[in-house]
């Protein structure tokens, strides 16, 4: 049932989904905004690299500067006024939003009546969406932990001294790509999927498709070893473990190749310690395991790769 | 919101245009309606309807009323008492029929006559057998017998009542507030006793006598529908009559036994 705009409007207009709609616009906007600055800096960098003489005298910012202008400005009033303005605008925004849209209040909690779909708060929908691809212990516990740890590890594995304190794309291609894939392509997109795409029964509904409570999907998800006809439990476990291992090796090697693509990246790679390299690769491989598993699940209907009596992957 | 605004504007426009039209119509209509209701009948132009009610065919034989249960009544009669359902004259005229104007008087209202119509219980029969009154006109019921009667009208549209009337008791005076043709009246003590009271909103009615003749006078000119009603045979077919000023017309009703 395509073209059900009423349904789309219903989902979008749920008060709690409004932030996600806002996210849909804000994140691309700021991505573009950041990249605009980055390209501005990149142009300057290119200019300065081409003209070393200029590099010596230039103030090295893409912003106008004249001698005689203060290098530092007083916070009061030059920063304060902007902060004040931002606070006022934000207040207005919040007020208007609060006046026009009421916070949701549904029926009193009823443990006997399961909501369908019952969804986590929107900012955790990424994790809930992950439940489709991984067992809860991975999606709900391991992955969030890895995300936090991974984020915290960033400053310690990024060996690139360039691009500290200014936007640039040219000097940090690898790290920017890695971050954007993680934040935009995985985290934000998963949230959007969880909000707009997942309907009753956590089934996949394209936008403008009616959320039909009666819909039934039939899909047999198999474990990887079953596809290969391995029946023995231990054999299967071994097979699964080796596939996982293989994935790590292949992905690690690819990562390695990726780090060696340009001369600059090789230089940075060179600067990294072994611990940094291992951490970086592990984290990125784990991050990539999500899209890998998603693809395996959505395209090949694979449920588990590794099956053990204690846990499954 | 927009739709609602638009609707409001349209509604205002519509209301304005309607009120503009409406004022004219009202001006024309107003005097017409109440005039009919209160206008007195002008005797100068009033017409008359006359006619007879006939029974087409032999009347069913009247039954003899046995009053053995009530010797005091039986004593008052020297001849056998017969039922009065069919009172037929020489020329086939049918008595005890109520002829009345059913339709054509519009919204006219009429004064209620103050003088009562008398219904007597004499010799354990109601005399007369059929009476007709106007709405709210008093009906005076007399007990001329040395026995107790009870008077029990069983109306459909009016209030029902049932009063006992011992000999020499005061006369019962009652009236009926709604039109009804006709209310059967009976006496529970003497099951054979029966009478009818026709109640009408206007004075244009007549109970026929043995000759079946009737005359309805003082009718303002107009188109009328007349109907005759008989206690056993029910209501006749309607007859339409147009009365011009001072005109007199004759019609005839025929009942088949």
């Amino acid at each position: 049932m395509w073209g059900d705009w009423h349904q789309l409007w219903q989902i979008v207009s749920v008060p709690d989904n409004v932030p996600i709609v806002a996210l849909l616009f804000l994140v691309p906007f700021y991505t573009w905004y950041g990249f605009r600055e980055a390209f501005k800096h990149d142009r300057l960098i290119a200019q300065l690299e081409a003209d070393p003489a200029m590099a010596k005298t230039h103030h090295r910012k893409p912003y106008p500067f004249k001698t005689g202008w203060e290098r530092e400005l007083h916070v009061w009033p030059y920063l304060m006024r902007i902060e004040f303005l931002a606070a006022v605008i934000l207040t207005v925004l919040l007020m208007v939003w609060s006046i026009t849209l009421n916070a949701p209040l549904e029926e009193p909690a009823n443990p006997n009546l399961t909501m369908n779909p019952s969804k986590a708060p929107w900012y955790f929908l990424g994790l809930q969406e992950m439940l489709v691809y991984f067992d809860p212990w991975i999606a709900g516990v391991v992955m969030p932990t890895l995300i936090i740890v991974g984020l915290m590890a960033i400053p310690y594995v990024d060996a690139n001294p360039l691009g500290n304190g200014y936007y640039t794309y040219k000097q940090r291609k690898f790290s920017i790509w890695a971050f954007l894939i993680g934040f935009l392509a995985l985290w934000c997109v998963m949230i959007v999927i969880g909000t707009f795409i997942r309907g009753p029964g956590w089934m996949w509904f394209w936008p403008t498709q009616t959320w039909d409570h009666n819909r039934l999907d039939f899909a047999v998800n198999r474990n990887l070893h079953e596809i290969f006809g391995i029946e023995n439990r231990w054999l299967a476990m071994g097979f699964g473990a080796s596939v996982v291992g293989l994935f790590f090796i292949v992905a690690g090697y690819l990562m390695h190749r990726l780090c060696m693509v340009t001369e600059f990246s090789r230089k940075i790679y060179q600067r990294m310690t072994l611990l940094q390299i291992i951490t970086l690769h592990t984290l990125l491989i784990l991050m990539l395991s999500l899209p890998a598993k998603m693809a395996a699940r959505l395209l090949f209907r694979i449920k588990y790769v590794l099956v053990t009596p204690w846990f499954n992957i | 919101m927009k739709a609602r605004l638009l609707f409001a504007v349209l509604a205002v426009a519509l209301a304005l245009s309607l009120s503009a039209c409406g004022s004219k119509e009202q001006a024309e209509e107003k005097p017409a309606a109440p005039a009919v209701a209160s206008a007195p009948v002008d005797p100068a132009t009033a017409g008359t309807i006359t006619g007879t009610v006939k029974l087409d065919g032999p009347a069913p034989k009247a039954q003899r009323i046995r009053m053995d249960a009530e010797p005091t009544c039986a004593k008052t009669h020297t001849t056998p008492v017969m039922t009065e359902d069919y009172v037929v004259g020489d020329k086939g005229g049918l008595g005890n029929v109520v002829v009345y104007v059913k339709d054509g008087l519009g919204n006219r209202t009429f004064d209620t006559p103050k003088e009562p119509v008398v219904l007597d219980q004499n010799g354990c029969i109601y005399v007369p057998h059929v009476i007709a009154v106007q709405v709210n006109q008093p009906v005076e019921i007399i007990n001329s017998d040395p026995t107790t009667h009870n008077v029990h009208p069983v109306p459909t549209n009016n209030k029902e009542w049932n009063k006992s009337q011992p000999p020499k008791a005061e006369n019962i005076v009652e009236s009926f507030a709604r039109e009804e043709i006709a209310i059967p009246v009976k006496c529970n003590v003497h099951p054979w006793m029966k009478s009818y009271i026709a109640v009408l909103k206007h004075p244009y009615f007549k109970v026929t006598g043995k000759d079946g003749a009737f005359e309805i006078k003082n009718l303002p000119p107009g188109d009328y529908t007349l109907v005759a009603w008989h206690g056993v045979l029910g209501t006749s077919a309607e007859q339409k009559v147009t009365i011009g000023p001072k005109e007199s017309k004759a019609i005839e009703f025929t009942f088949k036994p």
Partner: protein, 1057 residues
Amino acid sequence: MPEIQNDDPIVAKSYSGPLLIASLLLVLSLFWALWQEFVGLRPWRGYQREFASVYSKFLGKELTKQKAAADAIMSSAEYQKLAKAAKDAADAAAPQVKKIDEETAYVNRRIAALSPTFITARGEVTALIYQVEIAGSESSKKSRQADVDKAKKGPFNVELPTAEGKTEKKSFNYDELIAEFDSLKNHKAELTLKRADVRKAADEAAKAQAAYIQEKLDGLSVEQVQSLQTAVRQMSVALRQINVDKAGLVDRCQSCHVGMDPKLVPPTLQLTKASLGLEKSKDAPFTSHPQPELLKLHDPEKFGCSPCHGGNGRATNSVVKGHGRHEFWLWPLYYKENTEAGCQTCHAADMFTYHAPVLNKGRELFRQKGCIGCHRYEGFDNEGEQLLSARQKVRQLEQQKKDAELEIPRLNKAGDQAPDNKAAQDYYAKADNLRVETSVMDAQIEQLMVRARSLLREEKKVGPSLKETRMKLRKEWIYYWLENTHTFRPDTKMPQFRFKPREPRAISAFIWQMAVPGPALPKQAPGNSAKGKELFESRGCLACHSIGEGNKKMGGTFAANLSRVGEKVNYDYLVRWIMNPRQRTRPYDPIARKDLGPEDYKQYGKDFVFDLDHSRSPDGKHELQVQQQTVMPNLRLTIAEARDIASYLAAQKHADAVYQPAEFMDDPKLVEQGRALVKNYGCAGCHEIATLEEEGRIGTELTTEGSKPIERLDFSLLTEHAKRGVLPDGKPNVRDGEKNAEWYDHKGFFERKLTNTAIFDQGRVVTQLKMPQPNVTPEDVTALTTFLLGSVDPQVPKDYLYKPADQRRDIQEGWWLVTKYNCMGCHQIAVGQPSDLQGLPIYQGENKFKLPPPLLSEGARVDPNWLARFLENPAMSKTDVNRNGVRNYLAVRMPTFSFSDGEIRKIVKFFQAIASQAQPYLPPRLEPLTPQERTMARDLFTHPAAPCLKCHATGQPAHDANASAPNFLLAPERLQPAWTARWLTDPSRISPGTAMPSGLFKQEGGRWVFSGPLPPSLQGYSKDHADLLVRYMFQITPEEQRMLLGRTPAGGKSGAK
């Protein structure tokens, strides 16, 4: 301001503009928030203002109207008379009053002149006396006393006005002053009393005058209207709420529905949209409560609004919110047509709820249409469940008894072998106790068996037993009926099942082959069809059954329409059925779970005899079902009459009806398939079917269906349709002018489903719904929806629920039975409830007296013990049964229902309760008649002016042919004296339209006196004549009556002379 580089864009850039705009926006948003808080979210303010304006306009009109009405009354002769009387009285009193008034004025002047001196003197003296009282020593006491005396001496000089208008100077000492003042006061009081005395007559006349207006004026008095006008003027625009802490209730409905405020709109005033001049307005919530009597029963200060009406009582920010019609609010306002659903919240245990006709209809339909066959509903039709639990209890007790009986010898033996006497005594005592306990168990079992027996009688099925099919029905007809239920009989209560092809064949074959084989019916001779018709119409069959098709249909709706009964039924069986519908071919043994035949009885050497008096199983161990489980009663007809009626009914058929031969009916292969289908469709819910007697209900329990989460109601493929207000046929759903109105709610579900039970299968390939299509009109659907909507898990405190323990419970229990057996088909039981017979042409007009008696005051009329006997055997005779026990002059017959004892008890209590009679009934002791009184009573009884025996039956066939009232001989044990006296004096008040005339007695000095000419013996009798007759009636004997008959002129002899 040094070194500011004006060309530095960052420094030079001014943020004043954006800041100004942002600040402005902030201020605007603040104002918006304020506006929202005080105006936007307070729509009731506007409503209240509008109400004040329209209501004061209304009151203005009302004032002129009432003024005119009051003026009209005042100009009436009667009022003028009263006014004149009042004026005359006032005039008569006037000179004296004037004199008194003048004197009072004079006294007042003197008091006024004296007062200042008096007050000062009293103040000074009392203050000095206080000083004396607190003085410490004797001496100081003395000196202060001297001060007091000095002060008391005065002198106090006063200028007093005299009667002539001059002044006189007077001098008093303290005591004189006091005395003078007191005497003036006393004089004044005397004058006041005297004045009242003089004016007494005038005041009373004035009061009578005022009272006259109050009596004659319809509606509010002018003063009342004026005070309302003041109230409206002073009305403040404020939130109005009912707050009941205990119930967690906050209802602010009155904030918009201002007309509900009793302070502004008294209950005597009915505000409607029309009376306020707002007929066309869709948004004028100002009408007052349309049923003020309901508010009297349910004080709004306790019950609020939302417990009955639903809605979100707390919300005041919008109409939708207030009415609770927003998403996630579980208790939306009931729509107008379903308002009475609210009653069911607390009145769920009722069988009949006063003031709720729609709800009652729904509840009644739920039973009548057989919904209870499949859907359990708490408190409805639970005889089966009770029977089961009684049987279980019996089994338990029997097991216990058996255990005890095994234990007793063991204990005795242990006692025998006990080491010492004490221990032995203990054992023996235990054994004895157990023996006693078993005897208690016996009594318990006995009672349970009686109960079971009763329950077996009480348990009825909605549809006829299918065990008798072979004897009763034409073979080919069954299949046709299943397929064309509603075509064959358009008003049948049997729903139309949606069978798949070939299913009806299997079902009918199963039913046919499972039917009991016999013993064969006796062959019946044909009867007289014309006479049968007359009997059918006059005996009262039409109270339940209807006959005739289309607009020729007449009769009740309780039972089947018999227009085509001749096409289906076997004549011999019909005769038996009419003779005694409860007669079974074979009794059912609920323990062995089979229908017993002669062979089962033979085993025990017994004859195959079973009826209500022989209801034990052949082994004598338990009760059998010996009756058909039908509510149809026995009309006590003769075999000839039964044949006549049967002949008449057998002729009721379509001449052109053709039935296909149905040889598959005997195909044994279809039986098992049929059984599965019959189970699947739940046929055994309404019909007795062999092998499926103990089948449970197949449908959902509906006791709290109205509060089932909406998600649990399966809208199936129509969910989105319902949410978007699209009807199943694709058209928009329109409600109150709103297009595409959402129907995703309980109401929408119930209504759609009842209108078309297959609706939620629409679009499905595999259909799942087996609920058949009931035979309901749109009004029925509304009534049933109302009933279901109200069937909720109540949200109110427990003590709000209507569970009366007093007579009101008897009424509710009685209603269950009264409706179960359709007593209202013949009798009027509730005020304003017509019986089905009343509407029949043969009972119109003067034939009204042929109707069965109304039973509104039956509980007060008759002795309950008599009533119980009568209900048990309405013929009042064991032998002469083809008649009515009381009103044998009526053609319509009070049938024998074979009530169980419990049912009789409940019905009797019901009639007592609706007549507010105390229970148990103790007959009052009547004063015996003196010989003179006896003579007087005889004279009165046979007086020509009081022809009692003309109408009342006497038992003499010749006389009774014309009788139209019961025999006096029944009175002593049947009637209650108090009621009889009331009846004699004004029967039409008890039973309007009765043949018994009113006005036989007249009130004279606090007693009733015969209103006709008095017989000589009664002249000078000073007691109540009606009471005399009652006492006489209550001791009348057959001999006495015969003697009276001799005296009465009707007898031909004149014994009195």
